[in-house]
């Protein structure tokens, strides 16, 4: 038996790590991975709430979050490839202009 708050704290820690990595990291790919980490943290709290309130809809919602995350990863990585092709760099500090 694990209290609901433990799951929420764990999901909060994961989300906070994701936010910190998003702000600290300077590689575009790593920044993108930290977004995935944040999504995972939120998914955990969805599943914990679903189990707590006996509502299976929470698990369905996590399924949809995963689908959207997969689509987002595909498009985002394609954008990263396009950025790398024009800038020849993955450092976010050197990608500070929308226009070349």
């Amino acid at each position: 038996m694990v209290p609901l708050s433990y799951y929420l704290v764990l999901s909060g820690i994961l989300f906070a790590c994701g936010v910190a990595a998003f702000l600290i990291k300077r590689n575009i790919i790593t920044i993108f991975m930290s977004i995935e980490l944040m999504l995972n943290g939120v998914n955990l709290s969805f599943v914990a709430f679903a189990a707590h309130w006996h509502a299976l809809a929470g698990q369905i919602f996590v399924f949809f979050v995963m689908v959207v995350a997969a689509a987002e990863a595909a498009v985002g990585l394609a954008i990263i490839i396009a950025v790398y092709r024009t800038r020849e760099t993955l450092n976010i500090d050197q990608v500070n202009l929308l226009k070349l």
């Binding site: 038996m1 694990v2 994961l14 995972n40 399924f63």
Partner: protein
């Protein structure tokens, strides 16, 4: 200390260690591998909560497909060790205490107000057999819309990642004539 709590703590420790490792590593491939560890540990947490279907999808889609895509792009672009850049001073002086205060507030509110009722292991069956009717009856429309979303994402990825067409030389006046 029940087995459930021990398993929760073990998986949670792996997840948090992986998340911190993602933050600490400088090479993107190491960050990607630690993110895979986080996702596998979260699949274990889902199993503890009875979400069997989600645990399987987490491993197959997230730790499998999405992370393979990430590793593939890292190797394709030959990403090296990231260059460390100096952050602004105001971000350190204001950001670190702000983040600490914010996380403490959130932890306090969660621990204070979310109650102490325990979540039983496997209290809610999330087996594919129970998920499927929900997915294909109540949530049929969103489910079908996600297929359109995936289709658009595939086309967008192909268009974005494909090489820009080498622009043919602009037709000169003579050619137009």
């Amino acid at each position: 200390m029940s087995v459930h709590l021990i398993l929760f703590l073990a998986f949670g420790a792996v997840a948090v260690a992986g998340a911190i490792n993602l933050l600490a590593q400088t090479h993107p491939i190491n960050s990607a591998l630690s993110l895979i560890a986080v996702m596998a540990a979260l699949a274990g947490e889902y199993l503890l909560l009875g979400a069997e279907f989600l645990a399987a999808v987490q491993v197959i889609v997230y730790a499998g497909a999405v992370m393979v895509l990430f590793v593939f792009v890292i190797m394709l672009l030959n990403a090296g060790v990231e260059e460390h850049t100096q952050g602004s001073r105001i971000a350190i002086t204001l950001g670190v205490p702000g983040a600490l205060i914010g996380s403490l507030l959130i932890a306090w509110v969660v621990l204070r107000h979310s109650g102490t009722e325990a979540v039983a292991a496997g209290a809610l069956a999330g087996a594919p057999k129970t998920i499927a009717p929900l997915l294909f009856h109540e949530f049929l429309l969103p489910f079908e819309i996600t297929s359109i979303l995936i289709l658009i994402a595939i086309m967008g990825a192909v268009v974005l990642a494909s090489k820009p067409p080498t622009s043919p030389a602009a037709p000169t006046l003579r050619e137009v004539d």
